[in-house]
């Protein structure tokens, strides 16, 4: 299945990319998507995740065509 992964803010800077396009097989969760895209780097503890622009837990399942995003705590307003 195809998954687009997006990164924002300081996380984007620290990994040096704003997005990845992954082709993966099997039953996948958000944290497995992170590991597939970033095998050498643990997801920073306080980072948040979204699937299709809705907040999710790291154990949430993803499906073909989903957009998964990782980012640090938000600081708007």
């Amino acid at each position: 299945m195809s998954i687009k992964v997006r990164y924002f803010s300081s996380l984007k800077e620290s990994i040096g990319r704003s997005e990845d396009d992954l082709e993966l097989a099997g039953l996948l969760t958000v944290d497995l998507i992170w590991r597939a895209a970033n095998p050498d780097k643990a997801l920073p503890e306080n980072c948040l995740a979204a699937v299709n622009m809705e907040y999710v837990e790291l154990h949430s399942l993803v499906k073909d065509g989903d957009e998964v995003a990782f980012f640090p705590p938000v600081t708007g307003g």
């Binding site: 995003a69 640090p72 938000v74 600081t75 708007g76 307003g77």
Partner: protein, 148 residues
């Protein structure tokens, strides 16, 4: 209800006035308007700050703000809401955010505007990067404590 993401500097008072004038359905109906305006400071955590860049997640930002406003409409008796948030490069004294809520009575206006602002601070995907007077750059790590 209107949510706007602005890449250019805006005048909050003009935004509020023109929105109020444009919604004919609320003429004569509102008795209270609560307005919150967030403005960029030239200092943070003991350092002089000369500029800031506000990043956001296009699409998700609007989606989360819509959910926040929808929840406010669900909880309180609200006639109209305007949310304007700046993105891009910002200078001190420029407005960052406007939350304006029009209601029949003051209690709903105060409560709904506070809820929207606090939820925005904790859920809407925006991130601030400060440019200090020393030329150093740093990401703001977390917002100051709120009420939620």
């Amino acid at each position: 209800m209107t949510i706007k993401i602005c890449a250019e500097a805006f005048d909050p008072w003009q935004e509020i006035q023109s929105y109020q004038n444009s919604v004919s359905a609320m003429v004569g109906k509102f008795g209270a308007t609560s307005i919150f305006i967030g403005t960029m400071r030239d200092f943070n955590e003991g350092d002089a700050v000369k500029g800031m860049t506000l990043e956001h997640y296009p699409g998700m930002t609007e989606k989360q703000l819509e959910k926040i406003v929808a929840e406010a409409l669900n909880r309180w008796s609200v006639i109209e809401v305007l949310v304007v948030h700046r993105v891009g490069d910002i200078l001190p004294s420029e407005p960052i955010v406007v939350v304006a809520v029009w209601t029949s009575h003051r209690g709903d206006a105060f409560d709904a505007s506070r809820y929207i602002m606090e939820a925005l601070k904790s859920k809407a995907p925006f991130w601030k990067k400060e440019l200090l007077k020393s030329e150093a750059e740093r990401w703001v790590v977390k917002n100051t404590g709120g009420y939620l």
